[in-house]
C-alpha cells in the first residue's frame, strides 16, 4: 500500500514540499485569487514558491503511520519573529495570507500560519475574511470608523497579523468578522455581499474556479459550504486521455478542464470516494486526488477486509458514499438550504478572469451551462430537480426512517 502511494509523482512531490507544490502550477496558469477576487495571479509572487520553504525548514513531519510526511517543520531564524516555530504551511495558507491579501513574502505566510495555529483558527476562513475586509476598505464600503482605525491595505502584513489577533480575541472589528460572512454582510450592507467570495456562508479557498467548471460545481455543491475538499476532481487539471477517464469514471468525461462536459459525473464520483475515504481514515491526497492510479475502491475494499474481516465490494462502498452524501443533503435541507444555495458568488458569472495563460484568461462561468451541470449532478445522486432526495432513493439507501423532520 505504501509502495502504491509513493508510486505517484504527486506523493513524491508532496513528501518533499507538501501541498504548497500546487502553487507553482496554479499561479503560473492563473488559477489563484489575488486581492480577494480582483486578479487571478500573484505578480512577483516568486517568494511564495514552495522551494523557498527550505530556507526555514528543519525537516518534515508526518501524520500517524504516513510515509508521505508532507508538513514542513519551520523555524524563523532572524528578524522580528526570530525563534518562531510552526508546521506547514499548507497550500491554503499560502493563499490565505499570501495571494488573497496580496502579501508577497513567504515569511508573512509563515508567521500568520503560526498565529492561526496557535489561536486555533481556520487558516482559510480567517484569510478569506481578512481579504474580503481589505477589498471593502478599498471600495469605501467600510472605513476607519468600522475597522477601529486599522488601515486594511493590500499587502500590509502588520494589518493581517493584527486582524488575526482581533478575530481570535473578538476585539472590536475582529468581533464582527469572527461571526463569519453572513452576519457581517448584514451588518455592513451597501453591497458588501457582492465582494464576499463565499458559498453557504463559508469562505472559498484561494483558488479561482472560473476557468475550471468542475471545480466550480464542487464548491457550489459542497455540503459544508465552499469546501474544496468535499469533491474536488483535481485530476481534471492534467488533461488526461479520455479513454483513461472513461475507465475510471465509468462514462465519457471531457479531458479539457475548461469544458463542462461530463464534469458533473466527475464531481459526483469524487464526492462518493471522498466520503468513503474520510470514513475509513485514509488521507484524501493519497486517493484519486492528483493521480488516477492512486489507491481507490478496490484497495479500500482490501484494507477493510484485512482490518475488520468485512467484505465490501466497490458497489457497496459507493453506496455507502451515496448514503453519506444523501444524509448530509437531507440535513442541509432541514436547515433551509435548497437548490438556490448550490450556486457561486455573483462575480464568477459576471467578471471574466483578467490574467493568466491563454487557457485561463478571459473566462467566466456560463450560468446556463452551470445550471445544466447542476441538473446532471442531482440526477447522478438520484435527487430531484430541486436537489431533494427522491423517496425511492431514500428507501434504497435505508434512510427513509431517518428523523430528518422533512419526510
Amino acid at each position: 500500500m505504501n509502495d502504491m502511494i509513493m508510486s505517484t509523482r504527486w506523493a513524491k512531490a508532496q513528501s518533499r514540499w507538501g501541498t504548497m507544490i500546487i502553487y507553482s502550477n496554479t499561479n503560473t496558469t492563473g488559477l489563484i485569487r489575488t486581492r480577494n477576487f480582483q486578479l487571478n495571479r500573484l505578480v512577483e509572487g516568486q517568494d511564495l514558491e514552495p522551494e523557498n520553504i527550505d530556507r526555514y525548514s528543519i525537516g518534515t513531519a508526518g501524520c500517524y503511520g504516513c510515509v508521505v510526511h508532507c508538513r514542513h517543520r519551520y523555524v524563523l531564524r532572524e528578524g522580528p519573529h526570530a525563534q518562531l516555530y510552526g508546521e506547514g504551511p499548507e497550500y491554503t495558507s499560502l493563499g490565505a495570507f499570501g495571494t488573497m491579501v496580496d502579501c508577497k513574502k513567504m515569511e508573512t505566510v509563515l508567521v500568520a500560519n503560526h498565529l492561526v495555529n496557535k489561536y486555533g483558527l481556520d487558516t482559510l476562513e480567517t484569510g478569506g475574511l481578512i481579504a474580503w475586509a481589505m477589498e471593502l476598505y478599498e471600495k469605501g464600503i467600510i472605513d476607519d470608523k468600522v475597522t477601529d482605525g486599522l488601515k486594511l491595505e493590500w499587502g500590509d502584513e502588520g494589518a493581517v497579523f493584527e486582524m488575526i489577533r482581533k478575530i481570535a480575541l473578538r476585539e472590536g472589528f475582529g468581533n464582527t468578522l469572527a461571526d463569519g460572512f453572513r452576519p457581517a454582510i448584514a451588518k455592513f450592507g451597501k453591497g458588501s455581499d457582492y465582494y464576499a467570495i463565499e458559498v453557504k456562508g463559508m469562505s472559498n479557498l484561494h483558488s479561482d474556479e472560473r476557468p475550471t467548471p468542475s471545480f466550480a460545481l464542487n464548491i457550489a455543491t459542497a455540503t459544508r459550504g465552499a469546501d474544496h475538499l468535499r469533491s474536488r476532481p483535481a485530476v481534471d487539471m492534467y488533461g488526461l486521455p479520455e479513454e483513461l477517464l472513461v475507465e475510471v469514471y465509468g462514462a465519457p468525461v471531457a479531458s479539457d478542464y475548461t469544458s463542462y462536459d461530463g464534469k458533473s459525473r466527475m464531481v459526483w464520483w469524487q464526492e462518493l470516494l471522498y466520503a468513503v475515504t474520510d470514513s475509513i481514515g485514509v488521507c484524501k491526497f493519497q486517493t484519486v486526488f492528483c493521480a488516477l492510479h492512486a489507491p481507490k475502491w478496490e484497495e479500500f475494499s482490501r484494507l477493510i477486509r484485512l482490518a475488520t474481516g468485512m467484505e465490501l465490494s466497490k458497489a457497496q462502498l459507493m453506496q455507502i458514499g451515496e448514503r453519506i452524501c444523501t444524509l448530509e443533503r437531507t440535513f442541509n435541507l432541514r436547515e433551509g438550504f435548497t437548490r438556490k444555495d448550490d450556486t457561486l458568488p455573483e462575480r464568477y458569472f459576471k467578471e471574466p478572469t483578467p490574467m493568466g495563460l491563454p487557457i485561463a484568461k478571459g473566462r467566466k462561468i456560463d450560468r446556463e451551462r452551470f445550471e445544466k451541470m447542476l441538473d446532471e449532478y442531482y440526477e447522478l445522486h438520484n435527487w430531484d430537480k430541486n436537489g431533494v432526495p427522491k423517496k425511492e432513493t431514500l428507501e434504497k439507501l435505508g434512510l427513509d426512517k431517518e428523523p430528518t423532520h422533512l419526510l
Binding site: 505504501n2 509513493m6 528543519i58 525537516g59 518534515t60 513531519a61 508526518g62 501524520c63 500517524y64 503511520g65 504516513c66 510515509v67 510526511h69 517543520r73 523555524v75 516555530y85 508546521e87
Partner: protein
C-alpha cells in the same frame, strides 16, 4: 562484524510507523503502546526522538538484574530477557537511563528491543531512514560526515567577509 541500530533524530518525521510495525511483529497487534520502540515528541518545538534500547556494551540493566535474566545474543549483540528467569521486578526499566526497557501495558511483563533476530522491522518501515541497521564502520562514517558538514558550515561563517 555485528550491525548496530543507528538512530538519526533529525530525519525522524514522527509518523510512528516503527511503533506500529514493532507491536505488530512482536505482539501481533497494531498498538504503539505495546511497542519496544517509541518516539518522544515535543510538538511545539518540532523535535522527534526515537527511544529504543541501545544494546549497551556494559549494560546497566544486566548489572541491576537480581536474577541475571538479561543475556547478550552472541549473533546479533542484542540484550535479551530470559523470561524463564525474569521475576518482573522491573529494576531494568527503572535504572536504564535511555528508557530502553519498558513494561508491556497488556501483560505487565518487561519488553525490550531484541533487534528482531538481526532484521529489525522498524528499520524496514522507516521511510525517512531515521532508523538504519548498519555495520559500526558505516555508522561511524555517517556520524563523521555529519560532523564534518557542521564544521564546514561553521568555517564558512567564520571566514565570510
Amino acid at each position: 562484524m555485528q550491525k548496530i541500530l543507528f538512530i538519526d533524530p533529525e530525519k525522524c518525521t514522527g509518523c510512528r510507523m516503527c511503533e506500529t510495525a514493532c507491536s505488530m511483529h512482536h505482539e501481533k497487534v497494531c498498538n504503539p503502546n505495546r511497542a519496544r520502540i517509541h518516539i518522544a515528541k515535543w510538538e511545539t518545538a518540532g523535535l522527534y526522538v526515537p527511544i529504543v534500547c541501545l544494546q549497551c556494551e556494559s549494560p546497566i540493566c544486566e548489572t541491576v538484574c537480581p536474577v541475571r535474566a538479561i543475556k547478550k545474543d552472541e549473533k546479533t549483540g542484542a540484550l535479551l530477557v530470559d523470561y524463564n528467569l525474569c521475576v518482573g521486578c522491573r529494576l531494568c526499566a527503572l535504572y536504564c537511563p535511555f528508557a530502553g526497557a519498558g513494561i508491556d501495558t497488556a501483560t505487565g511483563k518487561i519488553i525490550k528491543c531484541d533487534l528482531c533476530d538481526g532484521d529489525p522491522v522498524c528499520v524496514r518501515f522507516c521511510d525517512p531512514e531515521a532508523l538504519q541497521y548498519v555495520k559500526a564502520t558505516r555508522a561511524n562514517m555517517m556520524k563523521m560526515r555529519k560532523a564534518a558538514e557542521r564544521f564546514s558550515e561553521l568555517m564558512q561563517k567564520l571566514l565570510a567577509p
